[in-house]
């Protein structure tokens, strides 16, 4: 199957073309096309089971495509392994907390910044002392910056397994920030957080946008989405049913119907 001719807009950084993910007869994602504008904060909402996380999995190459194409900065990446994509600057978080509970906050955050050094191969990482020392120092500096941005100062040496849930979520975000990605795919980053913590995360997302990081935020918190996002897509039953400016999109009848169901007459 050949890719359609790609018109790569200057401001566009990532594009999905007709992405389909089928599990047997279940059409989890059914022909979704969307594009992320460079430096913008995008939102993706939809009821449970609408295919948001599957689409995120496909975009991050964690989930295989049944059909469709993916483009990053004008280059196709739908056959690229997930770790290669991460090295090219597309990072993601998961719906559930994924940390190394026995490692400290600092070590967990440093993991986000380790990829450039490890991309030269295991042998080099194993036997080069000076280069690994230098890489360690760089990772540590980036991690410390990310820890400060996320207000996790003072917890550097605390083991992640002993932290409250909301703080673990922040450590995950710090790990992404330490990686300094071009595109950040966030799968419900505020799930289980308090209102105050959600406010902090909203501020963080806006500051990352200010720093030029492109983001796609999958969320159930409509208030958060409408307050921070520049553009919003709504999914239902594997397809995009609406898109546009967040406040305008959520008031559309088809969106209300997807969330609340059709009124009985």
């Amino acid at each position: 199957m050949t890719a359609p001719r790609q018109e790569h807009a200057v401001s566009e950084i990532l594009r999905c073309d007709g992405v389909k993910v089928y599990y047997g007869g279940v059409h989890a994602v059914d022909g979704v096309s969307l594009q992320l504008e460079d430096g913008a904060l995008h939102g993706l909402i939809g009821p449970n089971g609408s295919g948001k996380s599957t689409l995120l999995g496909a975009m991050s190459r964690m989930t295989g495509l049944t059909a469709g194409f993916l483009w990053l900065k004008g280059q196709r990446y739908d056959e690229l392994p997930a770790h290669e994509l991460a090295r090219r600057g597309v990072r993601r978080t998961f719906q559930t907390v994924r940390l190394l509970p026995d490692l400290t906050v600092l070590e967990n955050v440093m993991v986000g910044a380790d990829a450039p050094f490890l991309s030269h191969g295991i042998w080099q990482a194993w036997v080069t002392w000076r280069r690994s020392y230098r890489a360690e120092r760089e990772s540590r500096e980036r991690a410390m910056d990310a820890i400060q941005i996320l207000s996790l100062d003072g917890l550097e040496r605390v083991r992640c397994g002993t932290l409250p849930y909301g703080t673990q979520r922040k450590v995950e975000l710090a790990r992404c920030v330490a990686a300094g990605p071009d595109v950040l795919l966030l799968d419900e980053p505020t799930a289980g957080m308090s209102r105050a913590e959600r406010g902090e995360i909203a501020k963080l997302l806006l500051s990352l946008r200010g720093a030029g990081m492109t983001q796609l935020l999958v969320e159930h918190d409509v208030d958060l989405i409408t307050s921070v996002c520049d553009h919003l897509w709504v999914m239902n039953l594997g397809t995009v049913i609406a898109e546009g400016k967040p406040r305008e999109v959520i008031s559309r009848p088809e969106v209300e119907e997807a969330y609340l169901g059709k009124a009985q007459r």
């Binding site: 964690m62 990072r91 190394l100 026995d102 380790d114 490890l118 295991i122 790990r175 990686a179």
Partner: protein, 297 residues
């Protein structure tokens, strides 16, 4: 000191073999690769090394040849088993061990059949064997430091997370499997060159239990755990002579107890204790700071 060394020669030789074997088990288990293949490589390394030594190949050549051959075979197997995880990988590597036993029993003059090989030149001294084990520990400790250490720690906990962080998880698994094979092969050749014999009964089910006991009791999270486990298992029969005939039972029970109570073994216990002390001190300092601030107010 010298007299102690002479009196403990057999145990020190056993320690060198056990450390290498324990490291072979530990490195795969630490990476979340559930493999028993170390014992099969122990057998392959022992037979290959014994034959080379019997053909007057210098000991350094024997060790290098066994290390390279084990790496190549291990890497090939890792590619074959790439899609297997957990129990299925454990089963297939157990089957691999049994295949090596059968090959040993039917290998003609190369393996000496069911009787095994005798009269292998005593090519390795106790000090050289201990040096080899020490080097094994040094090399493995380098695998636990800095970025590589964290990447391998992720392999055990969460492969998807590793991929999302840009780590080539599949090649890391192959590397770790081949490394384990090399250490297993070196343990086998060390044993053959120290004891001058090798037969199919030397690397059967009991050696799997022994290897697992060393790695699990010491703690799979670090090379230090393998070393601690090797020390414990080597000197166990000396300290518990009455239990010598129940060795397999004791080892199996130990594995169960450790896995239930402290999955990270002795090393995990030490780390937990150290962390608890640090966390307690940190809390006390924070409390003192708070009280100081209240007094100032």
């Amino acid at each position: 000191m010298i007299s102690w060394f002479t009196g403990q020669t057999i145990l020190l030789q056993q320690l060198a073999v056990n450390v290498l074997l324990a490291l072979s088990f530990q490195v795969v288990l630490r990476s979340g690769v559930f493999s028993f293949a170390s014992v099969g490589f122990f057998g392959l390394g022992a037979y290959l090394g014994a034959n080379l030594a019997m053909h007057h190949v210098p000991v350094i050549g024997v060790l290098v040849a066994v290390a390279v051959a084990s790496w190549v075979v291990g890497y090939g197997l890792a590619r074959m088993f790439a899609g297997l995880r957990g129990l299925y990988l454990g089963m297939i590597t157990f089957a691999f061990d049994q295949i090596v036993v059968v090959l040993g029993e039917n290998g003609g003059s190369f393996t000496g059949g069911a009787v095994g090989l005798y009269g292998i030149p005593l090519a390795l001294t106790t000090a050289e064997a201990l040096l080899l084990a020490f080097l094994g520990c040094v090399v493995m400790s380098q695998l636990e430091r800095r970025a590589l250490g964290r990447a391998i720690a992720i392999l055990r906990v969460d492969e998807r997370l590793g991929r999302a962080q840009g780590f080539a998880v599949d090649s890391q698994r192959r590397f770790v499997f081949a490394l384990s094979a090399t250490l297993g092969g070196l343990a086998g050749v060390t044993s053959a060159l120290l004891t001058t014999t090798i037969g199919p009964t030397d690397f059967g089910y009991e050696l799997i239990v022994t290897g697992l006991t060393m790695a699990v009791v010491g703690g799979v999270v670090s090379w230090a755990g393998a070393a601690i486990g090797a020390f414990a298992v080597t000197w166990f029969p000396t300290f518990a002579q009455g239990l010598a005939s129940y060795q397999a039972l004791v080892y199996s029970t130990l594995i169960v107890v450790v896995v239930v109570l402290e999955p990270n073994g002795v090393v995990g216990l030490i780390r937990r204790g150290t962390y608890a002390l640090w966390a307690g001190r940190r809390r006390a300092l924070q409390r003192a700071d708070r009280e100081g601030a209240e007094v100032r107010e």
